[in-house]
Subunit: 342 residues, 2 copies
């Protein structure tokens, strides 16, 4: 009645060893049913002796759920080594928040690497997916829909109908918050580095900027900067801006990726922050906080966004009901030295 070496003991092995039924073993180990204390202890002893561990797959199978949620981050989509180094604080915090919310509900969080083919997506073992920063007509959402996997996005889908549930910051309001703050601090020519992308947060920010400028009679100074390709683009764009005949007296870096480029451009040209030019960032990060001087930035509370997205997803899984409302996570403006002239 001993198990074979190497083969893992099953509930049957324990039942045989303790000379009871498998049901009794199950009850004893899960503290259910009503077993005589003596029997329960004997079963536990035998289980211990055989090194029995209930099979997690079998349990999952019985529960009818995988017990995992997949998280898809844009940064995992890059293939070359250089790019992979780019671990943005924002996404890391989303991952941490998602993981803890998932785990609190008895789910684990799965990181999904770059997937191209439909085949690969079918391999994903998860009860649902949290997808960050969908683009317009995002193919991945189409595939997931075909496969029948529920999806929640972080940042809303710009085009899809019906729009999947989502969690997001209030990107429109945040941009206006930055602009008002810079205005209060005396900035009169505020430039914006922003990506030409179909992401909702970019478009919301651009719209807020355009409207704010129109309302305040300011000339818009928006410079498109590609995202992702390293940070030279942001540096060059900022250098170009600052060397214009009428340079800006404040620069907003809308993306975390631009942070170093903007700062280095100022340093390169000998422009002091904030005296010659104020700098503010649309997404807070360690770089912003640790910069000398520390940079004013919007904290999008990505940890909370991750938590919120996972909870939305779990609701969908549980109730299979009506599409829930989006969750807008309030953001915080951290006023730091980069936008305040002593």
């Amino acid at each position: 009645m001993t198990t074979k070496r190497g083969a893992k003991a099953t509930i049957r092995d324990v039942a045989a060893a303790a000379e009871v039924s498998v049901a009794a073993v199950s009850a004893a180990l899960n503290g259910k049913g009503s077993l005589k204390a003596e029997t329960r202890e004997r079963i536990q002893r035998e289980a211990e002796r055989l090194g029995y561990r209930p099979s997690r797959v079998a349990q999952a199978f019985r529960e009818g759920r995988i017990g995992a949620i997949a998280l898809v981050l844009p940064l995992m989509d890059s293939v070359d080594e250089q790019q992979r180094l780019i671990g943005l604080d924002y996404y890391m915090a989303i991952a941490a928040g998602s993981a803890s919310a998932a785990f609190a509900a008895g789910y684990s969080l799965t990181l999904t690497p770059p997937l191209s083919s439909r085949e690969q997506w079918r391999m994903v073992r998860a009860d649902g997916v949290v997808l960050c920063d969908p683009v317009a007509d995002d193919e991945r959402l189409t595939v997931l829909d075909e496969i029948g996997v529920p999806v929640v996005t972080i940042d809303r889908d710009p085009t899809r109908e019906p729009m999947p549930p989502y969690a997001a910051g209030d990107n429109y309001a945040n941009m206006r918050l930055l602009l008002d703050h810079l205005d209060d601090e005396g900035a009169r020519r505020i430039a914006l580095l922003s990506a030409d992308s179909s992401w909702a947060w970019t478009q919301d920010g651009d719209r807020a900027y355009a409207e704010w400028c129109a309302e305040h009679g300011h000339e818009p100074l928006r410079v498109p900067v590609p995202l992702g390709k390293g940070d030279n683009d942001a540096l060059e764009a900022t250098v170009e801006l600052l060397q214009r005949a009428a340079p800006p007296d404040a620069v907003i870096a809308s993306a975390e990726q631009y942070t170093a480029g903007v700062v280095n451009a100022c340093r390169k040209l000998g422009r002091r922050i904030p005296d010659d030019v104020m700098v503010a960032v649309g997404v807070d990060s360690r770089s912003a906080l640790q910069n000398d001087p520390p940079l004013t930035a919007i904290d999008l509370h990505p940890h909370q966004q991750g938590e919120a997205a996972v909870r939305l997803l779990l609701d969908r899984l549980a109730h299979d009901a009506a599409r829930p409302d989006p969750v807008i996570v309030p953001s915080t403006l951290h006023r730091r030295a980069s936008t305040h002239r002593g």
Copy 2:
């Protein structure tokens, strides 16, 4: 014979609809067996019509494996919001590398949030665990061993016997590489910021530093700096170092976390890098690369370490055989402007 609304179609529903056996459905959908083309097509049509998706859990159950590997990162162990912001490039790259190696082998990668109790660890649904930076007598390894989950570590376990298989950089050699490089560039008093921890990489680095100093007749200038508690500690330690009567002419920041602190300390005291003091970092990051001037750093190729660790784990899962040898991933010294006086 139609499925209930809401309830997902099972293989039985498809079999009934197509008027064949479940075995035929399985064969048709997996392209196995020898079905008449006409039958196969009819089955596929019905499956399509019913929106049938094979249950991933059931498949997993049959395969006898969960199909997931858990990754445990030290940074996920912090609870307060402030700490969570700390997404180190090093760990992010490990996660990306692990995920792609896992996925290539048909496994997914699960992120495990901070777990304290044995109970919580039992909830982890994974066929194996990759644990980063084990400390001496790491409780987590003890628990995982009890639960019977195979483990591979990144960076070796400092004390455990038998030592779990691991992937790591050559931390001893790397420290000497940095020291030799600084020596070549003319540094004569090289200080080291290093943590008082039981981590193997810290201890290896400290040992290399002590031996190198002894061999070269240099006075050791090692300053212990706590890890994790934000970056003020590194800044203060560096300020203190640079204000000594005999200040160092080079500083090695052994951890990625020290990067900003060291740079800001130099800036605060008006010491120019590299002219007044050279700076080198033991772990490469975006901060090091984007600093002005860019900082010389050791690239530990964390992406490859992640891949290697996952492959070690998969080997163990597959063969259940002898303990494999550790994998030492070669590191690269990136010589940058911070250690070269024009």
